[in-house]
Symmetry: C2
Subunit: 315 residues, 2 copies
Amino acid sequence: MRAMVMTDFGGPEVFELRDVPKPAPGIGELLVRVIAAGTNPVDAKIRAGGSWAGITPPAILGYDASGVVEAVGLGVTEFKPGDDVFYTAEVFGNQEGTYAEYNVVPAAIVAKKPPSLSHFEAAAVPLAGGTAWEGIVRRIKLRVGETILIHGGAGGVGSFAVQFAKASGARVLATAGPENQETLRDLETDVPIDYRNSDVFEVVRKATAGRGVDAVFDTAGGDLLAHSIPVTRPFGRLATILGPSGDFTQAYLRNHTIHGVFLIRERARLEEMTPVLARVRPLIDEVLPLEKVAEAHRRMESGHGRGKIVLQVAA
Amino acid sequence: MRAMVMTDFGGPEVFELRDVPKPAPGIGELLVRVIAAGTNPVDAKIRAGGSWAGITPPAILGYDASGVVEAVGLGVTEFKPGDDVFYTAEVFGNQEGTYAEYNVVPAAIVAKKPPSLSHFEAAAVPLAGGTAWEGIVRRIKLRVGETILIHGGAGGVGSFAVQFAKASGARVLATAGPENQETLRDLETDVPIDYRNSDVFEVVRKATAGRGVDAVFDTAGGDLLAHSIPVTRPFGRLATILGPSGDFTQAYLRNHTIHGVFLIRERARLEEMTPVLARVRPLIDEVLPLEKVAEAHRRMESGHGRGKIVLQVAA
């Protein structure tokens, strides 16, 4: 089968199109014909030097996939050949990723593809959308009528977060660079904030009449979470998908709760998201052929992405 | 009336017994004859230089009280003279504290004294017990069968935390200095840990067979919370009553939730605690006459307290 193999750790040029053996599903596993593979910033971090992730070159990267079940392993009863599915794969050791024509995956972390989404759209959802769902819905438990500040609202995770927050009935303040203000408006952000040309926290103060927000979701990192504490109301909930830095000594005086969010693969979350995906459109920056994965990585590493880049794997 | 007045910011010697006018209750307020006043570490911090708390000497400090309603202000229907009550007062501006024979307090933050407790015991509960309740029950939401690590289990807040955790059906690991190991055992701590003579986190690892705890409650501060992250299971909940320092970058990888806890006065929490106070005994270090408040402060500032110090106000 065709696969884009990471031949070494390094720059985007380490990918090479190779013909590799088609894998076979083991007990409880599915063999999936990948139609579309999603790319994620973590792919680029691993490519740049990811022995910490338990991956050794040559290896096939890629966490997200949408495709068709080609064969099922022993003990699999919930899927049959021909089913459309989507998932975030585990990639380490002998578990190869989704930058390939075929992928083997434990059935337990796979769900039926939402009927409302194309394979390209579905491949953009599992990791980024799942992380946003985990933060906004399961951890922050955002409620109708609340106000949330989302750092990085035009990015892969952030664009899902803005939409899940809107779908939850909340008022959304979100930040992005000047080039992505239009994107924030397209996502129906109530208060789009240009973090380069304005004082984010002053805008938040004014937009909330000095009362601050009920919740914060940080997809950008650094000390943004710490700086958000003074504009978050007492008993507010903050979540981050990155290791936060800065000074948190005031958080206890405001009775804040801070959630760290890191995606654990599971079918249940994919199924929970499915009905909501009928009204939330994955924000897709570009669809590129599998062979152009290096280009996808370059764009993700620029930090100015607008949603997700998806690889077309099947012809 | 008699009151121990803080004549200036400074050492414990700034307290002076004075005869001051008896206050009168305003709309929605109670005049309470204080029988016992609880002392708290924050009293000593304010005495040492507490303009940050909105207090200017001369002033009467003291947050906790248990006593008898002497008179009620206009609009108060839920209390009548003669009722036994307990509460944590607000102290700032013209609101004086409980180191005095009488105290005026908004009825909204007062509850009936639990019948299971003496006035001395009840005066030890509101601030420290309320903070422990807020952390263990309302924020961490500790459940039967879970395991919790409590830093500072023999202190004012910690001794309530250990007991509320045990009453919740949890397994409790708690730390204290060598002089308070006996106290931890008296509180039925499952794994008492001497933080001076053992490696706390190594003990936790061994006692949990390497799996770590479900929850952490930190009453001691510094970087203890940050160091607790590696011994807390994925999706674990941590709470602190102080501004935490240290490195929290790993917390998101473990999907941890960190709660900052700072007591807000309210009647509801006092009433929630009341049935549980029938089986949780406030740990009282010593009962001293009101005039010996300086001694109480010296003992609290030593950092080796064993539970609470209560002042006997009424003869």
